[in-house]
Amino acid sequence: MEYDFLKKLHVLYVFAKTSFDDHMGHRLRLFFRFVMCVFFMFVFVEFWRLIARENFIDLPFPVDDVCWYACLTQMMLFLSPRLFISIDQDVRSGDISYLLIRPISYIAMRVSEGIGAMSANALLYYTAGIACVGFYIGSLPSTGWVGLGTALFFLYLGSILHLMYQAISGITALWLQQAEAFYRIYQKILIVLGGLYMPITLYPDWLYTLAKFTPVYVMMYGPAQFVLGWHQGDSPLEIFALLLFWFAITIFLLGWFYRTCVNRLEVNGG
C-alpha cells in the first residue's frame, strides 16, 4: 500500500516536472508575463511613494518596506499559472471525460502540473524579479535578506494553497458551465483580504480580524509581512502552523467538492 502511494506520488512528480519543462520551453510567453509583472510591481512602488510624498497618513512602516511588501504581494498573483482556466477548458471541451478514467486523480494531476509551472515562474521571479525590484527601490527591506528569504519561502507555499483554490474554482465549471465567475469572486477576496494594495494592519479592525480568519491571510499578507519588520506580525513558526492548518482544510474541501461535482457529472452527464 505504501509502495502504491509512493508510485502515485512519483507519477505526480513526473506531471509537475513535465509541466515545469513545458513552461520553461515557452520562453517568450514566460518573458512577456514577467515584464508585465515587473511593470505592475513598479506601479505599486510608485503608488506607495506617492502616498508617502503626499503625507496624508503616518505610515507605520518605512516606505521602502511597504514598497517591497506591495511588490511581493503582486508577485504572488503572477507566480501561479491560471489553473482554473485549464480545468474550465477540460470541462467545456469534454476532455475531462477522458481524463477522469485515468488511474490517477484528475485534480491531483492538474494541481501537480500547476506546481510545476509555478516553480518555473518562481525560478525567474525569485531571481530576476527580485533583482529588478531591489534595483528600482534602491535598497533591501529593513529585515534584510533573511526577511526577504522567509517571505519568498512562505509565498511559495501560499501559492500552492492558491493553486488549490484555483482548482476549486475550476471545478465549479461542472456546475456553472464557466469557472471564471467563481474565480473572480475568490480573486477579489484574495486581493482585499490578502492585502494586495496595502498591509491589512492598516485596515479597520473588524476587517483585519476577518482577514486573519481566512486562508488568504497565509497566501499573501502572512508571507509578505516578513519584509515589514520582525516585530510587526506573526512569527515564521506561526505562519507555518497556519499554513498547515489551511492546507488540511483546503485539501479536504477540494476533495469533497471534486467528488460531489464528478458524481453529479456521472449521474446527470455533461
Binding site: L28, R29, F39, E46, L50, I85, A181, V192
Partner: protein, 262 residues
C-alpha cells in the same frame, strides 16, 4: 457598413442573447457572482480612501468614474465582442479558417463569434456606478456617454492588439486573458501613480490612459485639451490595433494549424 452586414450583425447579437439566456439558473448564479466580484473591488477602494483621503488628487468619486467606465467597457466587450478576448485561442485552434471563408467582415465575425454571459450584468453594474458617480460630480451625461464609447474603442483595440500577438506566440491565451484583466485594473488606478517613464508607457504601448485617466480629466474638469487627447488616443489605438491584427493575419493566412508557429 452595408445593410446586409447590419442585419448579419443584428442576427449575431440576437444569437448571443439567446445563448446567454439558454441556461437561466447558471446564468443567474454567474450574474450574482460577477456583481459580487466588482462590488468587492469597489469596497476595497472605500477602505483605501477611508485610510488615505486622497491619492494624487483622486478621491472616491474619481475611482467611481474610472471603475464605472472600466466595468462598462469590460461588460460591453464581453457581451458584444467576446471573440476578441478569445482571439489567441482561436488562432491556436485554427478556428479563424471558418471566418476567412465567410464573405462578411472578418473582425465583426471574430468579435461576435462568441459571447461572455456576464456581459449584460457588468454593463448594468457599470452604468449604476457611473450614475452614482455622475450624481456626486455633476458631470455632463452626453459627454459621459461619448467618452464611454471612446473608452470601449480603446479597450477593444488594446485587446485586439495584444490578442493578435497570439499570431506569433503559441499557447498564449491564458496570459492574454490575464493581461486584459490587468489593463482593466491598471486603468482604474489613480493617474498620478504613473509618473515619469510610466506616464509614457500608459499612452504608448499600453494606452490605458485614454481609457479612463484622460477621459476623466475631460469629464470632471471640463478640459477640452483632454477631450482632444482622448479622441486622438482613441483613433491611434484603433489604427494601431488593426495594423497589428492585419500583420498577424498575413502570417496566419500563409500557414495552417500545424505550421503557424513554425
Amino acid at each position: 457598413m452595408d445593410k446586409g452586414n447590419l442585419s448579419y450583425l443584428w442576427a449575431l447579437l440576437k444569437l448571443n442573447m439567446k445563448a446567454a439566456l439558454a441556461l437561466r439558473a447558471a446564468y443567474t448564479v454567474r450574474t450574482v457572482f460577477n456583481i459580487g466580484n466588482h462590488a468587492i473591488y469597489l469596497f476595497l477602494w472605500v477602505v483605501i480612501f477611508k485610510t488615505i483621503p486622497s491619492i494624487g488628487g483622486w478621491r472616491m468619486e474619481h475611482i467611481l468614474i474610472a471603475y464605472g467606465l472600466g466595468i462598462l467597457v469590460w461588460g460591453l466587450l464581453s457581451f458584444f465582442a467576446a471573440g476578441l478576448r478569445t482571439l489567441p485561442r482561436q488562432i491556436d485552434e485554427g478556428s479563424l479558417d471558418v471566418y476567412l471563408t465567410n464573405p462578411r467582415p472578418l473582425l465583426m465575425n471574430i468579435a461576435l463569434g462568441s459571447t461572455q454571459y456576464a456581459g449584460p450584468a457588468e454593463i448594468i453594474f457599470g452604468l449604476i456606478v457611473l450614475i452614482i458617480a455622475g450624481h456626486l460630480t455633476a458631470v455632463s451625461i452626453p459627454l459621459l456617454v461619448f467618452l464611454g464609447l471612446c473608452s470601449f474603442i480603446v479597450f477593444a483595440s488594446l485587446v485586439l492588439a495584444y490578442g493578435s500577438l497570439g499570431f506569433w506566440l503559441k499557447d498564449y491565451h491564458s496570459s492574454a486573458e490575464e493581461m486584459y484583466f490587468n489593463f482593466f485594473i491598471m486603468a482604474t488606478r489613480p493617474e498620478a501613480v504613473f509618473h515619469n517613464w510610466m506616464g509614457w508607457v500608459i499612452v504608448t504601448i499600453m494606452p490605458i490612459a485614454f481609457m479612463t485617466h484622460i477621459p476623466l480629466r475631460a469629464l470632471i474638469d471640463n478640459n477640452l485639451y483632454a477631450l482632444g487627447l482622448t479622441l486622438i488616443g482613441t483613433t491611434l489605438s484603433a489604427l494601431t490595433a488593426y495594423t497589428v491584427f492585419k500583420t498577424g493575419l498575413k502570417r496566419y493566412e500563409s500557414g495552417n494549424r500545424f505550421g503557424v508557429h513554425g
